[in-house]
């Protein structure tokens, strides 16, 4: 039975988007000296605001502001005092949670249900968690007197704009570093609202600096001599370039890159639960998730039945207005990403896989892609090898556990994986053999600040979250 839905839009009146935004440097909003650019609402293609573009000189000013703050204020500050600033920021995020969630959905296109219930609560949790580390670092297992590295240059993607900001800024600040952060070109607004939160928290000027811009701004930041630590989340191709650019320098590097996660369903799995997990694994956040379960590996005896159930479930997914509280799948973040998803889906068809989408009406304006399933996928197909970063699931089958593991590991990536079976020993056997940094068993796409996240192989190195995540920001 399918219920009809009445529209249930979250009010956008809670956010006040200014016509233009500057850079946040040394505690002030300042002009950028590059050509300003517009950020667009991907759900209707309207321009939301004009954003300053930081050129190399602007980046230099931001790095110097961060250096001064590190040397004069934040570095010497007792950990207990740093902790209180971070707790204060966590509380301000909670106080302004709805505003942040609505703004995130408007700028990014993700459903308000996700920004409200997942992203923003995790952002607050991340600051709260790391606040507690700030005065306990000597107990973290990195030596008796671990020191901060200095200035961290951080570049984050557009899929979880505020959450990735939190993953970067919270541990950096807790460990005593100062930061210059570049949000993604298409999703700068919540980072700029976060700058306002830093001001409300009376965070000392220069501890957090936000420079907006595109790839050139990011390059200027990671290549700046005054940066001691580079942290990047994004594509493996860009990550490789960054690894090359920091080669031979003293800079420390952590990278959280692409993925092509296998979601393995054994024949004895609880299929209805597995279907929910598969849907969450690939359609959460429009599939704009580096750890998305984009390769479904199903054991042959249940493959047919599982795909049928999956199709039925996909038929109930609601695609549309990100601000509607009933929406399951929002807008694709940008025209460029939509084109890439479309191109890879066509490649899937061209290479002989069978494409299926539920009947679903897409809005006339904006960037949209219907949830899509490919069956008959071979390991050599591009849709089984390349990260699509969209709501597209490739289904492959296997016979034995050994075959499942071999197929799951047959990729240069190694970020995440899923296992569905009722047999505990089989979960542990499989989890031990998967070359992936996060393994979800009988669940998928769960995140927590206490849980280390990061990849094997070409999915990058270093961990974010948990005790392990501190290492990337300490001179241990």
């Amino acid at each position: 039975m399918v219920f009809e839905y009445a529209p249930a839009p979250e009010s956008a009146s809670i956010v006040d988007i200014r016509p233009s935004y500057g850079l946040f440097v040394g505690g002030e909003f300042v002009d950028g000296h590059g050509e300003p650019f517009k950020t667009v609402n991907p759900a209707d293609e309207t321009a939301l605001a004009e954003i300053a573009r930081a050129d190399a000189a602007d980046v230099d000013r931001a790095v110097r502001a961060a250096r001064t703050a590190f040397e004069k204020v934040w570095g010497p500050m007792p950990g207990a005092e740093r902790a209180k600033y971070l707790y204060r920021i966590a509380r301000l995020i909670q106080e302004r949670a709805r505003e942040l969630a609505v703004l995130e959905s408007i700028d990014n296109g993700k459903p308000i249900r996700e920004s409200r219930d997942v992203d923003v609560p995790l952002v607050a949790a991340h600051f709260f968690y790391h606040a507690g580390w700030a005065d306990k670092l000597e107990h973290a297992g990195f030596g008796p007197d671990p020191r901060p590295l200095g200035v961290a240059g951080q570049v984050i993607p557009w899929n979880f704009p505020l959450l990735m900001l939190a993953w970067k800024i919270a541990p950096a600040l807790a460990c005593g570093n100062t930061v210059v952060l570049k949000p993604a070109e298409t999703t700068p607004l919540t980072a700029l609202l976060f700058a306002d939160i830093c001001r409300q928290a009376d965070l000392p000027p220069g501890v957090v600096n936000i420079v907006t811009g595109a790839g050139e701004t990011g390059r200027a930041l990671v290549e700046h001599d005054g940066v001691d630590k580079v942290a990047f989340t994004g594509s493996t191709a860009v990550g490789r370039g960054i690894a090359r650019s920091v080669a031979g320098t003293r800079k420390r590097l952590t990278l959280e890159l692409g993925g092509k996660a296998a979601n393995i369903v054994y024949a004895d799995a609880a299929l209805d639960q597995a279907v929910e997990g598969i849907v969450n694994g690939i359609f959460f956040n429009q599939g704009h998730v580096c750890c998305a379960g984009s390769r479904l590996l199903v054991q042959e005896p249940v493959a047919e039945e599982l795909v049928e159930r999956l199709k039925t479930r996909m038929g109930t997914l609601r695609v549309g207005d990100p601000l509607d509280k009933n929406t399951d799948i929002g807008a694709i973040n940008s025209a460029a990403q939509l084109a890439r998803i479309g191109e890879l889906a066509r490649a899937g068809e061209d290479e002989g896989a069978e494409r299926w989408s539920p009947p679903c009406e897409l809005p006339g304006r904006g960037f949209w892609f219907a949830p899509t399933l490919f069956t008959g996928v071979a390991q050599s197909h591009r849709i089984a090898q390349e990260e699509i970063f969209g709501p597209v699931l490739s289904v492959l089958t296997f016979r034995t556990p050994e075959e499942a593991v071999a197929k799951a590991n047959n990729t240069p990536y190694g970020l995440s994986a899923g296992i569905w079976t009722e047999k505990g020993s089989q979960i542990l056997w499989t989890a031990q053999r998967l070359r992936a940094g996060v393994v979800w068993a009988n669940t998928f796409n769960k995140f927590d600040p206490a849980s280390p996240f990061g990849g094997y192989k070409e999915s990058g190195f270093g961990r974010e979250g948990g005790r392990h995540g501190l290492e990337g920001y300490l001179d241990a």
């Binding site: 090359r244 979960i427 989890a431």
Partner: protein
């Protein structure tokens, strides 16, 4: 008393790949001198092809070695210490050939034996120290365990025995396998160490040792797409940038050269540099 008329049987120093002692496929060798400039031996001068063969052997050995129990790996590393101790005089002799005094050579060999013992003990403790149970905000059991990165390329430092042991033992104790480029001017103790490894129940291919030109071999190791990590302990300062850049091709984990006082008791850093952290979630419920 040695018979004055008897000619000594010399040893041919070859490479150590996959548990065997082949010559370089290139057929090349180079002269290794003693401290006074006298001829000691012709060491094999490994080639790019030897690097690739060694990586193949190391990759082949990885699934088995990493699947051994930590207790078993610890016992094997301890066995290496036993075998090394048994050849103490031989190693002292080789180090004295390189110019070390009797006392210094003895200290170096003792240090190398003790280093194996130290790391042997880490095998079944590393996961307890580097892993964690994570208190996530939800009904999930969540734990993180360290796992070996895979195949590690090691540019060994100049210190021919203690330095070598100090970089090889931490790489393999957690289950990694290694391809080692030995100290270029003092490679003979490395090959003698290979004889120790070969008789210590260490599976063939877990440690592979190449002798020859670092400048020639290191870039092939750094750019090899089936090597997961790189220890630059012995890389020349002017080569580090290029090696790191080559290593970025498949995002190798790179341990940069650092302060090297091999006599000091090491910390855990050389082990954790070549570990991945795997975090597993499972719902809690009835």
């Amino acid at each position: 008393m040695p018979d004055a008329t008897r000619l000594t049987v010399r040893k041919t120093y070859k490479l150590f790949i996959g548990g065997a002692f082949p010559r370089s496929e290139s057929g090349r060798s180079y002269v290794v001198d003693d401290a006074k400039g006298g001829f000691l031996a012709n060491a094999s001068r490994a080639s790019r092809k030897d690097v690739r063969d060694a990586v193949t052997a190391a990759r082949k050995a990885f699934p088995g070695w990493s699947a051994r129990t930590a207790y078993n790996r610890g016992q094997i590393l301890y066995r290496v210490a036993e075998m090394l101790e048994g050849r103490r005089d031989q190693f002292v002799g080789e180090l004295r050939d390189l110019g070390l005094g009797k006392a210094a050579a003895g200290t170096a060999v003792d240090g190398a034996v003790d280093r194996w013992v130290w790391y042997a003990g880490w095998a079944d403790k590393l996961a307890a120290v580097a892993g964690s149970a994570n208190p996530v905000a939800g009904p999930f059991f969540n734990f993180s365990t360290p796992e070996p990165t895979g195949t590690v390329g090691v540019i060994a430092p100049d210190d021919p025995l203690l330095g070598l042991v100090s970089v090889v033992a931490p790489a393999i104790v957690s289950g990694n396998t290694a391809v080692v480029v030995a100290a270029e001017r003092a490679p003979l103790p490395a090959i003698t160490l290979a004889e120790v490894l070969a008789t210590s129940d260490l599976p063939g291919g877990v440690v592979n040792i190449l002798t020859g030109s670092r400048a020639e071999l290191a870039p092939w190791l750094a750019s090899h797409m089936d090597v997961n990590a790189l220890d630059l302990a012995g890389a020349a300062a002017e080569d580090v940038a290029a090696l790191e850049e080559a290593a970025a091709g498949n995002l190798k984990r790179v341990l940069r050269p650092g302060a090297q006082d091999w006599a000091r008791t090491p910390g855990t850093g050389r082990m954790t540099a070549f570990l991945e952290t795997k975090t597993v979630w499972h719902p809690v419920g009835v």
